[in-house]
Amino acid sequence: MADSAQRVARRLARVLVAGLALLGAVAVLVTLLSIVNGYDPLRAIDALWRGSLGSRYALLSATLVRATPLILTGLSVTLAFTAGVMNIGAEGQLLAGATATTAVAAIAGSPRWLTVPLALAAGGLAGAAWAFVPAWLRRRFGVLEVISTIMMNFVALYLVGYLVRGPLQEPLRIYPQSAALPDTARLPILIGGTRLHLGFAIAIAAAAALWWGLRFTAAGFRVRVAGGSPDAARSAASIDVGRTAMRAFLLSGFLAGLAGAIEVTGVTYSLYENLSPGYGYTAIAVALVGSLNPILTTLSGMLFGALEAGASAMQRDAGVPSVLATVVEASVILLLIGFGAARVPISRWRSSRAALRGRGERAVVQDAL
């Protein structure tokens, strides 16, 4: 017990260190940029602070709202990576979810208590369906999901691009976006006077459920073993690694789809191409900083939410390009994996797949000689 408490404390410390590293990286980058381009660094950092954590309103209406899709996609990546599935497709699954939710919300005229759950469920299922293609290709043909999920991201982007100029375009047919969602399909606001919506609570609940599921259920055990040491899972625990990975992949897609559904019903109220500023890719950083633990991933999602909200404010008030946040995120991922702070279950699919294809020792030796 004491041992596990210690481990939790150590991991918590890691998230805090990562947070400090984020702030430090931002400060260094802003200062460098200021020297080159003549921004006022103090003004930029002040804007960063006021736009993220500096006030109750910024925290509730900017940081936590921005954190919601990051937490959900972060959980999606956490689950996939834990299961040994390199799902880089949260972005496409999010867009698929947002699309299905928009379509369902446009049709449904029913009361809110029915429309909202229907729309959210449709989004989650669409995300899972979008993940099904690479999951099936992996299981049936051994296609590397790293490549197939990225391909699916682009397909989703162009599909949304077509739909918002075609079947789902707003009635006036001027803007490339869907009609605004009816009030009955919008998520309720949690705290009056802010923009914090029910989606944040759903994200927290999803994190708790995933934490509990991974830790205390048989299915969670299978996922962890199948991802951690597939050979042991197969021989010692008779786990069907392929099926376990497939199910985790689909649930991972569901979480990402839910993120898209919540973004549409809670924030944008309409579908358009640039709905996601790369949430699905930032999710990888979120999950790694959260060391693939659902609870810590939630904290890490809030951290990145603060960073992105602050970066937007910095662009608005001090003219510093908000793409700075991307640079910081990428640096944080590299530093964490480079210096061993974040352990990713190494892409183990390789070893089992080579065996699957019957490329045995003989072929290897022949090639090597």
Binding site: L33, V36, N37, M86, I88, V133, L137, R140, F141, G142, V143, L144, V146, I147, S148, I150, M151, M152, F154, V155, Y158, L159, G161, Y162, R165, G278, Y281, I284, A285, L288, G319, P321, V323, L324, A325, T326, V327, E329, A330, S331, I333, L334, I337, G338, F339, V344, I346, S347, W349, R350, S351, A354, R357, R359, A363, V364, V365, D367, A368, L369
Partner: protein, 301 residues
Amino acid sequence: MTDAIGSFLDATIRTATPLALAALGETVVERAGMINIGLEGTIIAGAFGAVVAAALLGVAAAFATAVAAGILTAVVLAVFIVSLRADQIVAGTALTLLALGVTGLLYRTTFGTTGVALTIPTAGSVSIPVLSSIPVVGRALFAQPLPTYVVYVTVPALAWWLARTHGGLSLRAVGENPSAAVAAGVSPDRVRWLALVFGGALGGLSGGTLVIAQVGTFAEGMSAGRGFIAIAIVALGRWSPVGVAVAAMLFGAASALQFVFQSLGWTLPYQLFLALPYLLTLAALAGVAGRHAPPAALGRR
């Protein structure tokens, strides 16, 4: 009709050139047992390097800078995945984010957020005497910008090098069985470093080609997924230089189809054509996988 075929082929080669360059580099990287998911970042870095150098110094310097920028990203990746043994997939994804972010940041701070169209001198086509006057296909194949000829030369050279030289054997040994390579006195780390640098050089040239030989300007994220398509092309081309070149042509042809359809007056949503290469990749991967194995140590630390 022959005109239509000629221009279809011309568009095919034009689109295929940057894809082929990046994919040939990635072939070497993957034959050494690595996967550079950051190739997208390498290409965008090359494109940015090219546009800056072209604006300041001219076309020749632009190609050199594109190659140098590509190598720079490869060095970053090599430090993390070869020297520090970090996970290749995650490091590569971070590299893409980093390169997209840094180029976007530099572009906006240097040229302004409004994105004033920055036009630069572009490289014209170079016609090869005699060959370019072959009817129908001559101009399409032999009146292209310089990078296309780099592809023509690289494909046979690389195929020969991989199959027939000691260096090529060492590279393949590192990709298939690193411990056997060590036993034979080859340092896997050194080979992988060099493979990544080579892949970075060609990836950077690919980005430079986009800017100097095609678009004539820079836009944030203009690599538009070509790095990922190139990785798919390598799998589709079964990790052989000739196969990769053919696969790149196939992708070029798929993109060129939209011009054909436009000229025929068929109105299909243009997003379908934009999505076509990615759908084709998925279908092709499913068809190719299982029948031909990638290098055995691919993706392993």
